[in-house]
């Protein structure tokens, strides 16, 4: 089975995008999840709903608003231009920003659940053992929530790999820049190249299955104490 140069390019781009997005979401999503898990603020509901929006919104709707906001006349577009970064749509980093929003719930929700499952007690214990809140977060909360992070990382990565609508809206279809595997398959089908589409689609199918299989087989090796 041979893949064309552009097929390989689209797979590499997809993996790069999913990797960068997962990394960014570990950093951005963790504090959001911690806050949602611990807060008693009235903002918890609204913030939680906003985080969950991409789960139900058509990707084209999200893509459309991001396109408008990040476009040359949008507020974010104006800002990026003022900072000398140009406009983000139809660039790799535009895709990254859009994917971060789109995959946010896949990172935040499992991590939030993991933080909530820890409960108050281990944090209180740490405080009585002289650990400051920040110290407690890194030495108790993070290790105890580790299974949640593995789940969240896998889901986020896989979900970003499977993105299509948002990418098309915000990134278009530029080879090597924004043409990810899912878009490449679409192009093959448009061009009636069913054989090429099959090869790439089969790779995506097997990849997705293996990821989910790993997730379902994997059990955190710890019992309750």
């Amino acid at each position: 089975m041979l893949l064309s140069e552009t097929d390989l390019q689209s797979i590499w781009l997809t993996l790069r995008l999913a990797g960068v997005v997962t990394l960014i979401l570990f950093i951005v999503g963790t504090p959001v999840a911690w806050w949602l898990a611990r807060t008693r603020s009235r903002l918890k509901g609204p913030v939680g709903a906003v985080v969950a929006l991409p789960l139900v919104l058509p990707p084209s709707v999200l893509g459309f608003y991001l396109l408008v906001t990040m476009g040359p006349n949008g507020p974010v577009g104006q800002l990026t231009q003022a900072l000398g970064l140009g406009v983000l749509p139809f660039t790799f980093w535009g895709l990254v920003v859009a994917s971060v929003f789109y995959s946010l719930p896949f990172m935040v929700q499992p991590v939030q659940n993991a933080f909530e499952a820890i409960g108050n007690r281990p944090l209180e214990v740490a405080a009585t053992l002289r650990a400051s809140p920040l110290d407690t977060f890194f030495t108790v909360a993070l290790p105890l929530a580790a299974p949640g992070f593995v789940t969240a990382g896998i889901l986020t990565f896989a979900h970003t790999v499977g993105e299509f609508g948002v990418v098309l809206m915000i990134g278009g279809n530029i080879p090597g820049v924004t043409r990810v595997a899912s878009v490449q398959i679409y192009d093959h089908v448009e061009a009636m190249e069913y054989g090429d589409a099959h090869r790439l689609a089969a790779i995506m199918l097997i990849f997705s299955f293996l990821v989910l299989l790993a997730l379902y087989l994997w059990r955190p090796n710890q019992k309750n104490t």
Binding site: P122, E124, A127, L129, R130, A131, D135, Q222
Partner: protein
Amino acid sequence: MEPINARFAIEWPGFNLTVDLELPGRGVTGLFGHSGSGKTTLLRCIAGLVRAPEGRLVFRGEIWQDANTWVPTHRRSLGYVFQEASLFPHLTVMGNLRYGQKRAPSSVGAEDRVSLDQAIALLGIDHLLTRKPDRLSGGERQRVAIARALAVSPRVLLMDEPLAALDIARKQEILPYLERLHDELAIPVLYVSHAPDEVARLADHLVVMDGGRVLASGPLKETLARLDLPTAFSEDAGVVIEAVVASHDENYHLSRLDFPGGNVVVAQRKEPVGHRLRLRVHARDVSLALERATGTSIANLLPATVVEIADADTPGHCLVRLDAGGTPLIARITRRSLDHLGVARGKAMWAQIKAVALLGD
């Protein structure tokens, strides 16, 4: 030793706590009460796990809380043992012990410092160090939790019903270790419990709480002997006596235990002469006689003076507080006997003790 002064007021829906206490800066203080009496909340306020909006806490001269000061829990020099051991599941026993120990400030004076080895030896856990918490029994876990709290070299040890989650066999496993703490540690211990026997066995000072208020605070012996407290209203009403092993009778396999105002004879003890023991005499095991009974199998007879008479838990009974040459006793007798014998304040009588519980068996 400077005392601990605690004043807290909390108003939560369905729960109030109003306390103003001075607790001794040494020995074991039992915080005793039913569930919902506020004893655990009081302990959490002292630890800084709950912030009472109007509170003042002065720990041996150091202000931990007042209108302008709030020392967070992790800066308070305390050790805390929770009802469930709450060990960190991702660390080994040694990892759990070192967690607090390596964070403890080195400013603690060398004489107050509890070394890791000492804590391990006190609780007898040296064979468990490399295990994960899920490989320990319930009793072992709680011993590790106590050692972990001690390893931070705290200036006070707070224990919230450390035995409540364990079955009787596990309790008996841990109690001797708690007694060792009592004997070997210089720091004060605040011990929350709803079990009269635990308190009677371990405490020197007793605080009785009910409905978020303090009903009594005083030395254990005197407080247990009071008839106006809920402690007197239970099956377990009784007093605690500190006694010394005076002699052994090898013929009859008996031991004589002396205390101020008299002595009792019990089944032979293994402790040597001179050893101190705590006895618990339940009110239901004490009966009264006008004269020294002769034809009786009850060996333990003490002359005593009636101090006070009060209602008991049933209308047919009453409680009589006696003074046996400086040692307080409580007898639970029927109203009928009370009238029949003409028991009245100041009357000299004989107390017949049917059974003595030795704390520490």
